[in-house]
């Protein structure tokens, strides 16, 4: 990709104590204004990958190799001060549980003021900016919200506050880690509509992490599928969903019930469970569960290669499609 906003190259993340690999050589770019979805199940490494962008990996886990180039700087080599100026300001993040992102003993308005003050020097118009931000995310009574505490608000409302906090300094990239997974479906719809609207308005890039394929299908431009710590498929959302080339992606999609299926045909399941990334040797991590696997798959690692639809890491692509 020419001139990506952010470029992740061969990032590998392992545990510090016993060097277990959790994320293995992940590479992808995000263009300015592009929305990219990362889908995977538990243990796929999608959350750790996102956290590594902002240097927010938990204790005991660190990046062992690779680079994350943003604005000409490698974020993995940046010092704390540099990362601090980027976080919140140029790259922002929203999480699944607003209660852990919001300080329970601080008024909501003050928390947003804090974000402004820690980056811009100018706090004179801060209060006004906060009110505007609340209104933009659809909070009905910004004045009241300013004076409220997190526990006084519902889950959906708190998520809106978190979005307001993330967007108030107009970041270029928004990272979202399953922010709607714990919400009711009608509230999720409201939040997604809000996010789409804001993204269009600001031409902001987005990295959206989720296990919910339905959400991703209508939210992003490109999809990255992760399995056991590796990227197994990348493509436009249309290509990945209508012509998935990697058997895992195809298997995942066919295991979901389809609203258009009048006969409610039997779901096609993938036997077994995803392996722990560090237990996979030089082989395709999906081979134990794959119908198409042969000795080659079990003894060598397929790399990502371009096919007619997507980039996929597989020796026996699904093929077919229009």
């Amino acid at each position: 990709m020419t001139n990506p906003l952010i470029s992740i190259s061969n990032v590998t993340i392992s545990t510090t104590d016993d060097d277990r690999t959790l994320v293995n050589s992940v590479s992808f770019d995000i263009a300015p204004g592009e929305a990219v979805g990362v889908v995977g199940e538990s243990g796929s490494g999608k959350t750790l990958t996102a956290l590594s962008l902002l240097g927010l990996l938990p204790r005991g886990v660190h990046v062992t190799s690779g680079s994350i180039i943003y604005n000409g700087n490698d974020l993995l080599l940046a010092d704390r001060e540099k990362l601090r100026t980027i976080r919140g300001n140029e790259i922002a993040m929203i999480y699944q549980d607003p209660m852990t992102a919001l300080n329970p003993v601080m008024k909501l308005g003050v928390q947003l003021i804090e974000v402004i003050e820690s980056h811009d020097g100018d706090s004179s118009s801060a209060t006004e900016r906060v009110m505007t931000a609340f209104a933009e995310v659809g909070i009905p009574d910004p004045k009241r919200a300013y004076e409220s505490y997190p526990h006084e608000f519902s889950g959906g409302m708190r998520q809106r506050v978190m979005i307001a906090m993330a967007l108030i300094l107009s970041p270029q990239l928004l990272i979202a880690d399953e922010p709607t997974t714990a919400l009711d479906v009608t509230i999720q719809q409201q939040i997604l509509a809000l996010v789409v609207q804001e993204r269009r308005k600001r031409n902001m890039s987005m990295l959206w992490i989720t296990h919910d394929l339905g959400v991703v299908a209508n939210l992003v431009d490109r999809v990255i599928v992760m399995y056991a710590g590796r990227v197994v498929e990348i493509g436009s959302v249309n290509d990945v969903f209508t012509n998935p080339q990697h058997p895992y992606t195809a298997g995942l999609l066919s295991s979901l019930p389809k609203a258009s299926d009048i006969n409610r045909t039997r779901l096609i399941s993938i036997p077994g469970i995803p392996p722990k990334p560090w237990t996979v040797g030089n082989s395709c991590a999906f081979s134990p569960r794959c119908e198409r696997a042969d000795d080659k798959c079990r003894s060598s690692l397929p790399g990502l290669s371009q096919n007619s639809h997507t980039l996929a890491a597989c020796f026996h692509l699904m093929g077919g499609g229009a």
């Binding site: 199940e41 509230i187 609207q197 298997g251 999609l253 295991s255 979901l256």
Partner: protein, 315 residues
């Protein structure tokens, strides 16, 4: 054999403020044998409370629940009548539904012993049968729950529920806590078991796609009431209640890729069950509400054979 839920309400008192939470506000269901009823709704709708009441874990404030015309709860012994191990529950969380200190084979054996269902010498065989029935290798009987995956644990929970030879299985979000690629296996298992053993299911979920896949009949709940109920095709292809329509259009659909408009069908939030709106519980968020909706509570009325909705404005 039928399950009869008649005008069940459930109110909890909030000790701190003295108020009360109306978890269920008059639910009536008659379930025929071998039918699968899917109950769908969002938070605050009362579906989990209803599940607990159906299996006897809690008592309704008013109303009755009977199986074959007999009450589920044995008031004299203050416990769930053991005759009614005919109604079993499969829980959402595979990690807390099995005793961590019991080998899974022993968990199942215990059920067989308590209900004296099988002669002592035959217990081991029966455990093997049940595990095979749910697709678990018999060797795993000697393992502890933490040595099994989430999907395997859920299967063991199902086997344990089946050990008491139930007629009705209440499934409370049985696949929601499982990884996406594992859900299909468990759903297929549930459907197979239903065929093989002639089971009746109440399948509770917030996920309409799963409800659609397994249910014969669907009930949509909102704030403690059923707002629409009917055969699955009727409710999903031809939803009449405004809430059902909003719910269906809010469901993420992975087969419809890249639709450019993203409109939320419903604004506002679910009201607090401790502060119920007057009249129809949905009127504040309803696109077709008229003033009288805030006054009249809505009862289910039949608009088509077996298809009922609780709304005065839909003709």
């Amino acid at each position: 054999m039928t399950l009869s839920i008649t005008d069940v309400t459930k109110r909890y008192k909030i000790r701190v403020t003295g108020g009360q939470v109306n978890a269920l506000n008059g639910v009536t269901i008659k379930l025929s044998v071998k039918e699968t009823l899917g109950i769908v709704g969002e938070s605050g709708c009362g579906k989990s409370t209803l599940a607990r009441i159906i299996v006897g874990l809690e008592q309704p404030t008013t109303g009755t629940v009977t199986w074959d015309s007999q009450s589920i709860f044995d008031k004299a012994k203050n416990m769930i009548s053991s005759k009614h191990s005919k109604i079993q529950l499969v829980f959402q969380d595979p990690y807390s539904s099995l005793n961590p200190r019991q080998k899974i084979g022993d968990s199942i054996a215990e059920v067989l012993k308590v209900h004296k269902l099988v002669a002592k010498q035959a217990i081991s065989d029966r455990i093997g049968e049940l595990l095979t029935e749910v697709g678990i290798s018999q060797e795993l009987a000697h393992r502890y729950p933490h040595q099994l995956s989430g999907g395997q644990r859920q299967r063991v929970s199902i086997a344990r529920a089946l050990a008491s030879q139930p007629d009705l299985l209440v499934l409370d979000e049985p696949v929601s806590a499982l990884d996406v690629s594992v859900r299909a296996e468990v759903m297929n298992l549930l459907i197979d078991l239903r065929e093989r053993l002639g089971l009746t299911y109440i399948f509770i979920s917030h996920d309409l796609s799963m409800i659609r896949h397994i249910s014969d009949h669907i009930a949509v709940m909102y704030l403690g009431r059923i707002v629409e109920t009917g055969p699955w095709e009727a409710v999903l292809e031809n939803p009449r209640h405004p809430y059902t329509r909003a719910l269906i259009s809010a469901m993420p659909d992975h087969t419809v890729v890249g639709s450019t408009t993203y409109q939320a069908p419903l604004s506002g939030e679910v009201p607090d069950p401790a502060a119920m709106p007057t009249g129809c519980a949905f009127h504040q968020r309803c696109p077709i509400a008229v003033p009288s909706c805030s006054v009249n509570t809505q009862d289910l009325r039949t608009i088509e054979p077996r298809h009922q909705i609780a709304c005065q404005e839909v003709k």
